[in-house]
């Protein structure tokens, strides 16, 4: 078991796999984006109450979900790094921060734009909105902390601690709409009794979600390769690859 993890967690192996599959994932994500946007912006019907405005959902919701998903990935790999000292896990966490922050920013911006016409305000210090803003700050803090500590090993561990501490924010984001009867609407899709959204509107949403996911994985794989090269720059497998021109 441990041997197995070791093989599949070893940088040279991961580097090779990543190099082989990341272009395909990138292409797939592009296709899904085009398809999802077409379905969402053109094919899907307008909403009975909101009319056309609601179409911002096709960016807002995937971005919001990804913002949380990426953070969870970051926190879990940070925990793995702290507990088992697996350096690859740290590379995953490091590579996720920036894109996670971008998703969060996107969710905040699209939410704000959507909130103005529907709620009557760009911003309210409501539980969902505030906790999502906190998430953005956590991402920024993570990156800033990494950058600020000069000793790379210490930087990695300190940032990992921060990522783990901050993970309490994720359930707060998700359940805030139930706990605090907030301005933000309760869950439409992620609910026990099934989605409260018409199927013709729902399908494009899932396509967009797929596109966002694949885009994240593509980005992650590419950044991880750079991270692994940097970290293992003194290792033999890197010099072999450099000499062989197989970066």
């Amino acid at each position: 078991m441990f041997k197995w993890i070791h093989k599949f967690g070893s940088p040279p192996f991961v580097y090779g796999v990543s190099k082989a599959i990341s272009p395909w994932i990138g292409v797939a994500s592009l296709i899904l984006f085009a398809w999802g946007l077409y379905m969402g912006l053109v094919k899907a019907p307008p909403d009975y109450e909101q009319g056309e405005v609601y179409r911002i959902i096709y960016v807002h919701v995937p971005a919001a979900w990804m913002s949380m998903f990426v953070y969870v990935v970051m926190a879990i790999s940070s925990a793995i790094f702290i507990i088992w000292r697996l350096k690859l896990a740290d590379v995953v966490a490091e590579s996720s921060a920036l894109i996670g922050a971008s998703f969060t920013f996107l969710a905040l911006v699209t939410g704000s734009i959507w909130g103005r016409p529907t709620w009557g305000t760009w911003w309210e210090w409501d539980a969902r909105l505030t906790s999502e803003l906190v998430l953005l700050f956590l991402y920024l803090g993570y990156m800033a902390l990494r950058a600020a500590i000069e000793h790379p090993q210490s930087a990695a561990r300190a940032a990992a601690i921060l990522a783990i501490v901050g993970v309490i924010n994720i359930p707060i984001i998700h359940f805030s709409v139930e706990w605090w009867n907030s301005l933000h609407q309760p869950a439409t899709i992620t609910r026990a009794d099934g989605p409260k959204m018409h199927i013709s509107m729902l399908i494009p949403l899932f396509i967009m979600l797929g596109a966002f996911q694949l885009y994240y994985f593509h980005h992650l794989l590419v950044k991880m390769r750079a991270g692994m090269l940097m970290r293992d720059r003194r290792a033999r497998w890197v010099s072999e690859r450099v000499e062989g021109g197989r970066l």
Binding site: D47, E49, T118, G120, T121, E124, N181, Q185, K196, S200
Partner: protein, 158 residues
């Protein structure tokens, strides 16, 4: 058990106790009214004195909306199915402001007992569907309640 182990055990159990206490307190908190707003019934009962800024939550009474012809000024009634408070507002209302819809208004009572709002927020519910589907559901009498939960927690069952 070595003393070190024992120490660790004590520390861990203290930690667990702390977490449990936190969970207990959170549950108590949610039993309390964490709403940021008063209901019309509170206002009529005199819970808030004029001049105090506060939020008022409730449902817009059907047919009560009166718009001024020469300005954006608008007046409507807000209810929790028990009492009614008149609200005045002179700014642009959000798209989702409808009669029968829950809203929250920020402002203060004037001396006549009317609520002068400086901001009105409307909330959208979790349902998304095309207009045709909505019409069909309406016909079948299966339309989910449109009163978004924003004000509904203060609503008294009629």
């Amino acid at each position: 058990m070595t003393p070190k182990r024992k120490q660790r055990l004590i520390l861990v159990s203290l930690m667990l106790f702390g977490c449990a206490a936190a969970v207990g307190l959170i549950i108590t908190a949610f039993k309390q009214n964490l709403e940021h707003f008063h209901s019309p019934a509170d206002v009529v009962a005199g819970a808030v004195s004029p001049g105090t800024r506060f939020r008022l939550g409730g449902m817009v009474v059907d047919g009560s909306v009166v718009r001024a012809t020469d300005s954006v000024n608008v007046q409507f009634d807000l209810t929790d199915n028990r009492d009614v408070v008149t609200v005045q507002f002179d700014d642009i209302l959000p798209d989702l402001f409808r009669e029968g819809q829950g809203i929250v208004a920020k402002g203060q009572l004037n001396n006549d007992g009317d609520f002068v709002a400086s901001e009105v927020l409307a909330k959208h519910d979790e349902n998304y569907m095309p207009p045709e589907v909505a019409a069909a559901l309406e016909k079948a009498g299966q339309m989910p309640s449109t009163a978004a939960t924003f004000g509904s927690k203060t609503l008294v069952d009629p």
